[in-house]
Amino acid sequence: MELKETIGWSTGEMAQNVAKDIHDGAYVNLGIGIPEMVAGFIPEGREVIYHTENGLLGMGKVAESGSEDYELVNAGKKYVTAIPGAAYFHHADSFSMIRGGHIDICVLGAYQVSEEGDLANWSTGDVDAIPAVGGAMDLVAGVKTIYVITKHNTKSGGSKIVEKCSYPLTGKGVVSRIYTNLAIIDVVDGKLFVKEMAPGVDFGYLQERTEARLHQ
């Protein structure tokens, strides 16, 4: 049975919550999917430079229909644009930016996040699935601050915020903050602290939908 949330933030509002925490001058890598929406909500007056690991710093908006360039894509292989002041580079340089700690923030989706800040977002361990990892493990190992944006629960109502990830890990103890449709949660020293709750959500309601223990 599908559990419908009647309260909580919309996906756009979740992206907006992340955007509020991205500082002026930040170099940011946005994961594929919902994380990409964050770019649309950066508050006025802040200048943010987007890195895409396939070799572009200064990624602009998605290319308009009819003006796509097959040789200008983002990590999700979408046709994008480059801003004035952009730079192209090869893959080893791109991952030097990541692994070398030069990227400030990375926003990623998740299958599961644990109270220790462990992230599982590359594989569900399904033996029939074709294994594919891309740059996720390099990103979580190298980027200074990892934010996760995800629905609080799975479609079947299961908790994505867990005591211990059951899916294969992308990285251990790497997540700083989790943005869900119900709350914003900080990971501090192996404990989860609720920073903010969506309108209409109280601590009891949130804990009921969360396998891991939450702290106020």
Binding site: E71, V73, A82, Y88, H90, H91, A92, M137, D138, K172
Partner: protein, 238 residues
């Protein structure tokens, strides 16, 4: 006299033998040297180990090379795309081996080979299944995984413009793995949209210096993979 220009793609790949390790540039279609790959299909070399970020789309380019049963192993970060059908089918049948490598580790293993570094430590994959069986070491309180360089016999790369010394410039995000793959292969083979006279490429702007390049073929109107895939084309041409 130095002249790295080769007349045709066919001639450029003619000495790739069975069992060779071949790096193939590109991030999806961007930078994929499709004409060189098709020449390798025509040549028919078997039992290849291919090093490439993806495993191809549709039934052209790298996917067609795999479909033609020329590849026994692929070293790759992301073999799955929306329109990748060939690799998943062979993989499920156990007919192709996969070594899954995180993208940054893949790039650095290639770069390391070109730079004369046999192995290096990286923080990526620590505490994950991809680090199982690998040596680890602690530096300044942080654990790192030992990764080995990947050397290739050949690399196939696409660039924007080249001169007869093999100096290269690329186009936008089609650069991706090209520069490091040129460094890491004993014989790097490049298809260029344009071959220009010496001196025309600004030395300040050369991305791959010619020392890393062995052969250059001019392919002035390379096919767009996504167009071929949308048209359901197959190679050898249907």
């Amino acid at each position: 006299m130095i002249n790295k220009i080769i007349k045709s793609a066919q001639e450029a790949v003619a000495d790739i033998p069975d069992g060779a390790t071949v790096m193939i540039g590109g991030f999806g279609e961007a930078g994929s040297p499709i004409e060189l790959i098709h020449a390798l299909i025509d040549k028919g070399s078997k039992n290849l180990t291919v090093v490439s970020n993806n495993a191809g789309s549709g039934n052209v380019g790298l996917a067609a090379l795999i479909e033609n049963k020329q590849v026994s192993k692929i070293i790759c970060s992301f073999p799955r795309t929306v329109i990748s059908v060939v690799f998943p089918e062979l993989y499920r049948k156990g007919e192709i081996e996969l070594e899954l490598v995180p993208q940054g580790t893949l790039a650095e293993r290639i770069r390391a080979a070109g730079a004369g570094i046999p192995a290096f430590y990286t923080p990526a994959t620590v505490n994950t299944t991809l680090a199982e069986g690998k040596e680890t070491k602690v530096f300044n309180g942080t654990t790192y995984v030992l990764e080995h360089a990947i050397q290739a016999d050949f690399s196939l790369v696409k660039c924007h413009a080249a001169d007869k010394y093999g100096n290269l410039i690329y186009n936008k995000t089609a650069r991706n793995f090209g520069p490091v793959m040129c460094m890491a292969a004993k014989t790097s083979i490049v298809q260029a949209r344009e071959v220009v006279p010496l001196g025309q490429l600004d030395p300040e702007c050369v991305v791959t210096p010619g020392i890393f390049v062995k052969r250059v073929v001019e392919i002035s109107n390379p096919a767009d993979e996504s167009v071929l895939v949308a048209e359901k084309r197959r190679y050898p041409w249907n």
